[in-house]
């Protein structure tokens, strides 16, 4: 761990200035402390965002929900409005980490959580994300945790968070404040970037950007939604695979609107458009669900360690659809 200075900041402008001067942000710190201890990151300064006053969940005039970036995961998981209207979000949050971690970790930080790829976390091994150009050890290595979707020859690291997967299903947006003070909304679906040949760049955030809030739009409040997470143990484990589904049925019981996303299998929260297309306009029954779920792994590139994720993804999506359709 490299020595660093600690700088609490009072507002977003101050945070931006520190970041432009080379600081890393810390909020809940649940991931940052690991990255520091393992020497994965060596910031000269940590700018503490906790004084920014960005916590809390509120309803906007149009019925959308606005979630402050510094809201703790547990607070969001327990929030009555969110639980009632967006179960996929609170189910994903409740399935995240452990109660202790959830009481510290923030929603904004969860969007930026770094990958759990074994090679990213062990500084004695090559990793393009940690050290661009050094090579990807996961391609031919221990890759049961790694991505089958969205990878490149440079990186197959999974974005490990649960919550953003639910947010993609809910068509949510992230509010960013740029270094110059301008605010802009970015769909969560396009917030994370594919690794391509620059796996070290993980999101569309620019230097000095600060996440202010997340907004779940009013139309998502009309949807039923659900999250299914598969992991190696019953709690406190990363998703081997997860599926988030949100949908609205019309008066005839046909799927009028639907968004499906997957986690644990891709380099970013992965929207499954083809699965949605297979079901839009149709009534959900077991056979249709099963056939639709097969499309979940379309385009998957499997390696010996993670080949299981292709069938697992299909099955997880199938399970989520069956459960939300009352067919389980």
């Amino acid at each position: 761990m490299q020595p660093f200075t600690y700088a609490p900041v009072a507002d977003a402008a101050g945070a931006a200035a520190r970041a432009l001067a080379g600081a890393q942000f810390i909020a809940g710190g649940t991931d940052m402390l690991q990255l520091l201890q393992e020497n994965v990151l060596q910031p000269g300064e940590l700018a503490d965002l906790n004084g920014l006053g960005l916590a809390g969940i509120g309803e906007e005039p149009d019925g959308a929900l606005r979630l402050g970036a510094l809201t703790r995961l547990q607070e969001a998981a327990d929030h009555p409005l969110l639980r009632e209207r967006c179960p996929v979000a609170t189910e994903a949050l409740a399935a995240t980490a452990s109660p202790m971690v959830r009481h510290m970790a923030t929603l904004g930080g969860n969007l930026l959580q770094r990958t759990r790829c074994l090679y990213f976390r062990d500084v004695s091994t090559p990793c393009n994300k940690r050290q661009p150009g050094s090579g990807c050890s996961a391609l031919e290595g221990e890759n049961r945790h790694n991505a089958i979707l969205g990878g490149s020859e440079h990186c197959i690291a999974v974005q490990p968070s649960d919550f953003p997967v639910a947010l993609v299903a809910l068509d949510a947006e992230v509010l960013l404040r740029g270094a110059e003070g301008a605010e802009r909304w970015v769909p969560v679906e396009s917030f994370h970037r594919l690794p391509g040949d620059t796996p070290e760049i993980e999101t569309v955030m620019r230097p000095g950007d600060v996440i202010l809030a997340i907004r779940i739009p009013s139309h998502a409040m009309r949807w039923r939604s659900h999250y299914v997470k598969v992991r190696d143990r019953a709690s406190f484990a990363w998703a081997l695979c997860s599926a988030a589904v949100a949908l609205r049925l019309d008066g005839e019981g046909r799927v009028a609107e639907m968004r499906v996303a997957a986690g644990g299998v891709a380099t970013k929260p992965w929207r499954l458009v083809r699965v949605e297309q297979e079901l839009l306009g149709h009534r959900m029954d077991r056979d249709r669900v099963r056939l639709a779920a097969v499309w979940a792994s379309e385009g998957a590139v499997a390696r010996p360690g993670n080949a299981y994720k292709a069938p697992l993804l299909q099955h997880t999506v199938e399970r989520a659809l069956l459960e939300i359709g009352g067919l389980a």
């Binding site: 761990m1 490299q2 020595p3 690991q34 201890q37 393992e38 020497n39 452990s98 759990r116 074994l118 090679y119 976390r121 062990d122 004695s124 091994t125 050890s137 031919e140 290595g141 221990e142 049961r144 945790h145 598969v230 992991r231 190696d232 143990r233 019953a234 709690s235 406190f236 484990a237 990363w238 081997l240 080949a307 299981y308 069938p311 697992l312 099955h315 997880t316 199938e318 399970r319 389980a328």
Partner: protein
Amino acid sequence: MNAIIGQPVSRVDGPAKVTGHATYAAEFDLPGLAYAAMVLATIPRGHVRSIDRAAAEAAPGVLAVMTHEDAPRLPYKQIAQRPQVDAQSGEQLHVLQDDQVRFNGEPVAVVVAETLEQAVHAAELVRVEYARSPAVTIFDAKQGRPPSEGNAKAGRVPELGRGDVEGAMREAPVQVEARYVHPREHHNAIEPHVTIAHWEGENLTLYDKTQWVDNDRKEIAHVFGMEEERIRVVSPFVGGAFGSALRTWPHVTLAVMAAKRVRRPVRLELTRRQLYMAVGFRPHSEQHLRLGADKEGRLVALEHDVIQQVGRYEEYAETALSPTSHLYQCDNLRARYRLVEMDTNSPCPMRAPGVVTGVLGLEMAMDELAAELGMDPLELRLRNYAEQDQQKGLPWSSKELRACYETAAERFGWARRKPEPRSMREGGMLIGYGMATAIYHSDRSGGSASVALTGNGMAVVRSASSDMGPGTYTSMTQVAAETLGLPVDHVRFELGDTNLPYAPVHGGSITMASLGNAVVAACRAVQTKLTSLARAAQQGPFAGLAEDAVVAREGGLGRADGSGPVVPYAELLRQHNLGWVEAEGSAQPGEETKKYSSAAFGAIFVEVRVDELLGTVRVPRMIGAYDVGRVINPKTARSQCIGGMVGGLGMALEERAEWDARFGKVMNANLAEYLVPVNADVAEMEAIFVPNDDRNFNPLGVKGLAEVAICGVAPAIANAVWHATGRRIRELPITPERLLG
């Protein structure tokens, strides 16, 4: 007074632990304490070409940087009789003694600084250039070779058997054959390994995480060529160890060297990641079994090969063949044990070393045989019940395994099991019932204890033992309290210090059978001493009485004929103007080892729920019945057993080192990726102790219960998964990719 042995006494050290008053090795806050951090090699084999230490030496707070270039050359004297906790042949790692790299993670430098953060940072600034040599990092069972003579002499034999296996197998109408794989596992105790080394002149004190202070002292004395008397090892509390703290690891030597160099006490604590390289682990194993039976299910031939990984600089081996040699009656047996050399740090004992491995293969194969025969798995075990230890040709000192089977099966509701796999379902889940037998050989070793009776009515019992979690503090207190006739809160047990009477290793489930009897002997000795004093006195209630006219009872002395009052110890001490009286006692194994074979037994029954679509397994119920001899404290004993069940659950479903052969390294070296069970994995668990009192084995009648509790759990779960799904998953852990594959 009611019996104290057998009562569920709460941990006497519990309040100190939960209030933070228990001082663990890392917490001894010595004046002038400096902090060390290690630099570990990043190649699996080769040598150090150069080390650039300039940046580290210039970093703030750095007191010293030590590498093989400037570390003192240490004598590393041989111990005349190697302790069983050490590798039995080869040479332990001689740390910083040359430029060679023997495995990924070997220490190549140590940095000492004023603070931990400064030491860690400076260690990261040390730049090491390596020359890499070809390394053996892939486990190839075909490369297996027999263990060396040193290990064979220590009981880790290359081969054992009886009868004519080939002939009997040819004739056997029913046969099964299977291969099982179990990956490298790590102990992952909560407390990391840590040593504080403190030199005062030529005298050295070590505050260390260890399961055996006396041996720790001996090892360091030999490494440094010192007299043992100049070393004191202090280790009052151990935050879990599971075998990882049995032997003395290289970082202890590093701490001692570093403290000498900077002339200050030095603390060296391993990080979680370093624990996967700087101490040992349960070795990767593959095993091959062939079972032949007659149509009634009687075993007629049994063949079992166990192949394990081993390091190349020293040879650690296990008694993996032991369960096969005597768990079942079978006249024709051949078992072989082989080692595959790899460039890795050395493995070491981990709860039920070797035996848990051997039981895994044997009990999974027995389940396959039961299926082949169309026989209930429990019935198959009963048909092959070993009435004696056939390999040793000795009767058991006691064996209540039948009662274990019956009790656990009844409690579990085994009779509800439908024989066909995939035949039980509930709420969309497949349900499976599985069972297995557990066994762990019971041993004793010599040890001693002292007891001081004091004027304030207390008894202070001392021995250099350890309590890594089973409750030694509590159970020894009970043994002393009952023997002395004092209430539990009038007895204090002290351990974990080489200044105390010698104790054997706190491992191998031997502590109570060994040291418990020494505590009894010490209590008797102090009573005898006090009796002699009272009889020899000029006056007092027992003055001048014959030896057999005075007896100790109810916390004092009284007349053997029952007349007159019992005079409490403390009152007698006052009468004789004595502040205290103290005596030592010891116990060692005797002729019983020639007359009997001794082992603890168990029967484990589990229910699994398998989500077939997602490939996940959960264990809602686990019931074990155990014959561990006499139970000193059912509360701590239960904790041991459910702890073993949790460990076995991890072994079956979660634990695995993800080894990258290119680097010769465990990649998931942290608790976020190397998974052990969490509370949510653990549902109903019940441990039942069948009545037994094994006086043939030792006077206290105890056997041992740490190791047996993990044996049999993983095969019972794997067998239940088969019953649920019809799939034999022969490689652990049973994770979604294996069930979906």
